[in-house]
């Protein structure tokens, strides 16, 4: 018989390394046509980091994503970056980019101020223009300002900066301290069907609501969440490296059971409206936390469906059926 269940799990997750320094540096060059080049030492590992980092640079400079070309992943030409790890790229590298772009932008403000007959601090960069705050009709295109600064004043618009999240070391005896600068939060809810004659669990649906601060690119955040859930489904139900005498016995994709398209549920994703003043434009991060609560939610849903608490992952069909049988045997004795 198929029995249905629902289960929820919430979580918290930090951005960046535990206390340890994990800096990023960045360089932003504004070209004389108003486009820009961003140099970062991080590596695109599939999450869309370079797109997001380009968006952050673009936002700071008041230009579009497409106006920024991102150069990355070459130790000869790109600056130091701790790398694609610890859900830190948007937050840490992003903060470095904001600061670097601000340095470059300041050069534009200083070049434009005399042309617009105002002080540099009265200027903002928006819609590909340097314009006067509160009086946007007075403006010059960023391209023209950059050209003027570089070719007339002789001051190319370029900026470099770095960022490292401020932390406080943890006390060795009590662990008290400030190991991270910020955290994200999330809740996922799973709906499952359990076949109580085979122990098979089918995850029907996952609703995932995540906080990542400001989503720099909501489409890419959704992608992270959906992908993280697929890892969580595997972690919950199927995946396990098995050993015999220290030798892996299933080191291949035939016998290491990760979810296929047929094993993945319908996924509904929403983001919490949140803003972190310490992040770039209020952003925090999204990579790892997406994989955190899925297994817990699924296991709670299994419990809700058939009343058994599986305490060791993965909750394979065999394990679930054994627990159901044990429960029935217990009920038999009680009766």
């Amino acid at each position: 018989m198929i029995r249905r269940g629902k289960g929820m799990a919430c979580m918290w997750y930090p951005i960046g390394f535990t206390v340890a320094a994990n800096p990023s540096a960045a360089t932003v060059k504004i070209n004389t046509d108003g486009t820009a080049t961003l140099l970062t030492g991080t590596v695109e590992t599939g999450q869309g980091a370079l797109t997001v980092l380009g968006q952050i640079a673009a936002e700071t400079l008041g230009i579009s994503t497409d106006d920024v070309h991102v150069v990355s992943a070459d130790t000869d030409s790109t600056p130091m970056d701790t790398g694609a790890i610890a859900s830190r790229t948007t937050y840490v590298t992003g903060n470095a980019i904001v600061r670097a772009a601000e340095v470059a932008r300041q050069i534009l403000f200083e070049a434009a101020a005399p042309l617009l007959d105002v002080k540099p601090e009265q200027l903002e960069a928006r819609d590909r223009k340097i314009q006067v705050l509160g009086f946007p009709s007075k403006s010059i295109s960023i391209g023209k300002v950059a050209q003027h600064s570089e070719s007339v004043i002789g001051r190319p618009a370029i900026g470099s900066a770095s960022y490292n999240p401020p932390t406080v070391a943890m006390d060795p005896q009590t662990g008290q301290g400030k190991p991270f600068n910020t955290y994200v939060y999330a809740t996922q809810i799973a709906e499952v069907e359990v076949d109580d004659e085979t122990g098979e669990v089918e995850v029907k649906k996952i609703v995932a609501v995540h906080d990542c601060g400001t989503p720099i690119n909501p489409m890419l955040v959704e992608g992270q969440i959906q992908g993280g859930i697929s890892m969580g489904v595997g972690f919950a139900l199927q995946e396990e490296i098995l050993f015999k005498d220290g030798k892996q016995i299933n080191p291949n994709l035939t016998n290491y059971i990760m979810p296929t398209s047929l094993d993945m549920p319908e996924i509904e994703v929403e983001l919490v409206d949140n803003y972190d003043p310490t992040g770039p434009f209020g952003a925090k991060g999204a990579g790892e936390p997406t994989a955190v609560p899925t297994a817990a939610a699924i296991l709670n849903a299994i419990h809700n469906a058939v009343g058994v608490r599986i305490t060791s992952l993965p909750a394979t069909a065999e394990k679930v059926l054994a627990a159901i049988n044990e429960q029935r045997a217990g009920e038999g004795k009680a009766a």
Binding site: R4, C10, T65, D67, A73, Y185, V209, I241
Partner: protein, 467 residues
Amino acid sequence: MATTVKDVKKGAKNLTTDKDLTAPAVKPLTLPKDNPVIYPLTLPESEARRQTPAVGQRASRPDGRLHGLGQTKYIDDLTFPHMIFAKVLRSEHAHARIISIDTSEAEAMPGVLATLTGKEIPVNSFGPTLQDQPVLADSVVRHRGDGVAAVAAVTEQIAADALEKIKVEYEVLPAVFDSLEALKDEIKVHPPHSNIYTSKVIKKGDVEKALAASDHVFHRQFRTQMVEHVPLEPHSSVALWDGNGRVTIYTSLGRITLGREDVARTLGMAQSKIRLVGTIVGGNFGGKNEITNEPILALLSKKTGRPVKCTFTRGDEFISSTIRHPFIMDYTSGVNKEGKILARKIRLVLDGGAYCSWTGTTIGKGSILAPGPYNIDNLLVEAYAVYTNKTTTGAMRGFGAPQVCFAYESQMDDIAEKLGMDPLEIRLRNAFSEGSSSPTSQVLQSVAVRESLIQASERFGWKEWTQ
């Protein structure tokens, strides 16, 4: 690449106005009808990529288009003139002393250009926290994934055949596979050091007193398994040693600037003599945050004067790259009648595998996050990471968080069930809010756990949902 063509054409005239930016950069080229590799040379960028403000836009990815065209070049797609291929021989034992390694027969094979053993590596150790891992094991193997020798040959098949000709004599040592066994230190993985190579304590309030004062005390042990990242792209790198004594390494590594430090250290070289280049990593999830073959390929390239490539087989990927830490988690929670958690006592044992790798970060995050996103005044978390003679556990998406979340959220439902409360209610009653104090007494800001609980419950229809 469409952007390159456009940029070149743009450079020809001085673009300073906004209008020019939106104008098509080049006329479409006409290609002969039978042109073999055909893809559109000019395509409009999506609207979202051209919008200001840029933040918040559902901007498509420039690399996304190349992925779809099959034009993205991953490391294994790169070839260089005269390139040869390396393979690594892995240990036959989980724990053994290496008596001798004889590569002579392999070297004599036609097509084999060089071999390498650990003794030839200038500084044969690496690791992000403890440098306890050899690039190629030279005295002791501590798990089956340890490399013991490498071969470079003109084809992958010859390199694979040559591995079978390498004779390694081992003295088998007793091995420990279970983390609780390893905790006893009867069999040591890195003697004379204890197997417990890192630990963490988080203490707040008085947990014993609060447990004694609780209306209900819940205890359970939870366990999680070893899992693999399974990036679809196996690790891959190519090293090119040049005439200036400089080496360029194309690599699937996800952290190249720190990776260069590691490579420089193992090779005993100046960082300025080493260039690491990434393309796009075909899936990382934490598994590509450590150097693997890079120093080996550099030295084989130095020996042969040839570019040397090594791409992991799927088996190598499982056996020799890092994987997720299994946790054994004892959770004891004291709760009052109203469902307020008064105390939580947690003991975590992390199976650290044969080497430290990113265990430091995993035990740190695992311990701090272990109590869950809840206001609990009395806490004790004790966490230990132990060496075992199994695959090295390292960084993986979530660094211990998925493990502890499974435990604390399972226990939250146990508590709710016992008290007859709705799982949503028990969480809302205890969840952090803005300004809450974390287990390490950090004042939390931009907290959104309640919001996520409420929003998810509404979206799911939690209250209305029935079996």
